[in-house]
Amino acid sequence: VNWTRISSTAFDVTIWLYLGAMVLSFAHLAARRNTLWVLARVVTIAGAAANLVSIVARGMAADRVPWGNMFEYSTVLAFLVVVGTLVVVEGVAKIKTLTGFSLMFSVLTLAVAAMFFPVEPSPLQPALNSYWIKIHVVAAITGSSLFAIGGIATILFLLKDRSERRALAAGRQRAPVPIMGGAVEVDAPHDLLPDPEGAGGAPEPRRSGVLPSAAALDRVAYRVIAFAFPIWTFAVIAGAIWAQEAWGRYWGWDPKETWSFVTWTIFAGYLHARSTAGWKGRRAAVIAVAGFISLLITYYAVNLWIVGLHSYKNG
């Protein structure tokens, strides 16, 4: 069996299916036809299946875990972002409108991988040849994909929040809107702490436009990031343990270490900002977007342009 061939064919099929699913998802946003949503889901799941085939076949071709270089990492990242969105955002949070944007992220991830760092399946270099590649890298990809979903939701929150604020300002003369979850509880006892999960000062959800309410976007962003944060923490710790074993020190301010720390710090800041009066809502969201950008730098810039021990572009 020519696994290399199967993997690369499945990769191409994945891109086209994701692209089609993305178009269908946006069409659903615009036209709000349920048929379009069903169609978009079918194509999304077909794309995810092709993506999975591409990953597994790659592993068979190289005879090792299929995340040994940037190309493979991107393939897995795209898969996890799509599947994570389907499971967490659509399944748990019941928000149907985010998937198109996640598909867009995955299509870009795959396209960048195909254009800038395609490599043939090959064995691992000695530094990567450790069982820690299963632990550290899996945690890093999972954390990254969830942070990416949280980042997408946060960007959409900022857009939606602005339009809601405008609508609110326009309709100020009408009856006052009830205050939402994030506000101070009238019945709370002495030791009240702000709820970090409450909608970040976002006003009353109004069913207008194509996106879900800002409050719902904000909540799903928080949930996903709070889910990703311990995974990312674990990835950094596992990376430190591996670095101790491979390079003789658990922390050496290598660019990848530095940027994963920066990403960690920014998201830690986000989680704290959520429970700090005056930092909720837009300010916290801006921190989360900074974390998302930092995540992209951690992955792309550090691997490609900043010289360090983690320059695994070619495996």
Partner: protein, 514 residues
Amino acid sequence: MTTSPGLTLRQSVALVWRTLRSMRTALILLLMLAAAAVIGSLLPQIPNSPERVGRYLGDHGFWGPLFFRAGFFDVYGSWWFVLITVLLFVSLAACLFPRTRAMIRAIRQRPIHARELDGFRHHAEVRVGTGPDEAAVIAARYLRRKRFRVSRDGLGVAAEKGVLREVGSLLFHWAFFLLLLGVIVGKGTGFTGRAVVTEGETFVDALLNYAGEIRTGRYFGGDFTGVGLELLDFEDSYRRNGQPIDFVSRVRVLDREGRPTRTEEIRVNHPAEVGGLHVFQEGFGWAPVLDVSLDGRRLWSSPIEMARDDPPDDVPATAMPWRGAIKLTAPEPDVTITLELWPDLRAFANFQLTGEPTSMLVQFDPYIRYSVYVGEIVDPALSGVDTTGLHRVGRSDLHAAGTSTFRVPRSGELRLSFPELRQYSVLLVSRDIGIPVVLTAAILVLVGLIPSLYVSRRKVWIRAEAAPGGALVKIGGFSLQRKDAFEEEFDRIVRGIGGAEAVEVQPEEKVGTS
């Protein structure tokens, strides 16, 4: 808070303390730490790559010195990075002490009873068939079974759950102090050095043997172990396309007295532990064994550890020749021999014929070109060669197992033989007693983090009142986090306490839940 000039010292201290305690300050310090790390990743750092710092300074005439003075080339050792870290930890401590005290108090204390239950966000009343006393007992038992901490006082019950959130959060934050301690103690009392050892030779753990390639902690006592590492054999293996498979040093460990104790295989990702030291495979190179004599007098007979030039762009490092030098101060005047080694003659031949660089992964008829210089050697200990003050008397070449003679004017006949080509291994030797502490701290960080994010704190109050035909049970509750999830839990509690035959008196009041 006003900052009027009339503040007493005590008030100012209190003000600073209050500022440090605020989450805002901690947040800003955290983000400043991230910003500092960004600088450290964008500019070359002296501890990691001093030569790149030098190049940067040369290329940036204006910004270079400015950044240098600001400590941007050694961010993690700069006074401001230390200051941010210290302030962050002080701020953290200022925040954690009162929270810890409050948490201990909350755990010791029984849940506090509430007088008025109607005002809570979640509120319900059910009618049950039992008497009020029994209803309260049943409710308390039910909540205890649901793992609430329960305190019953006659007809009233107070219950709470989810203290683990705060416990986890405090554990997470305090663990960073342990982490800091482990880092400071480990790095402060330890060292990291680079041991270069050729096949057949022994490296002894002692300061001078690291030849300057060592970084010791501030509190390192200089107590080297004196254990020896005899390199029996180094092996590098490659695939056909030149991709490395593995690098392995087979080492015999010698105790202080030089007695062999055991052998170890040190390979990438598989360090060895030797007498409290960790030894890692870091690099390797070629070390030709050369015998040099001048007019029959033997002047040199040992391996020379060669270094490889940095390759130009698009040339694999393995295609580059290796360089080294022999400095002889015995003859008059001094003689310097610079060497250029091609471990694979085919690569040399190909380069001469076509100009194409070829990777040299195995030795194949190793070939040395050498030049001979005469003139005073300024620094015989230095590995590099500065030929500016020297006079070149000629060049020649040499094959493995071969001999070559060279006539040095006024000195005599120089005779070089090249009996064998060995490899040397670069081993990273480090001592860090803080590692178990750091690892423990990291585990505690994770263990604390999970409940601090996912557990929610909720409280439930119950009051049973006598009513015709049984009792009226009033239930109130609220949750500090995950309010929408608590709504369902509260409904379950109401059903659980009321039992199957209970009648809900009035629908629970929901105020602005989402």
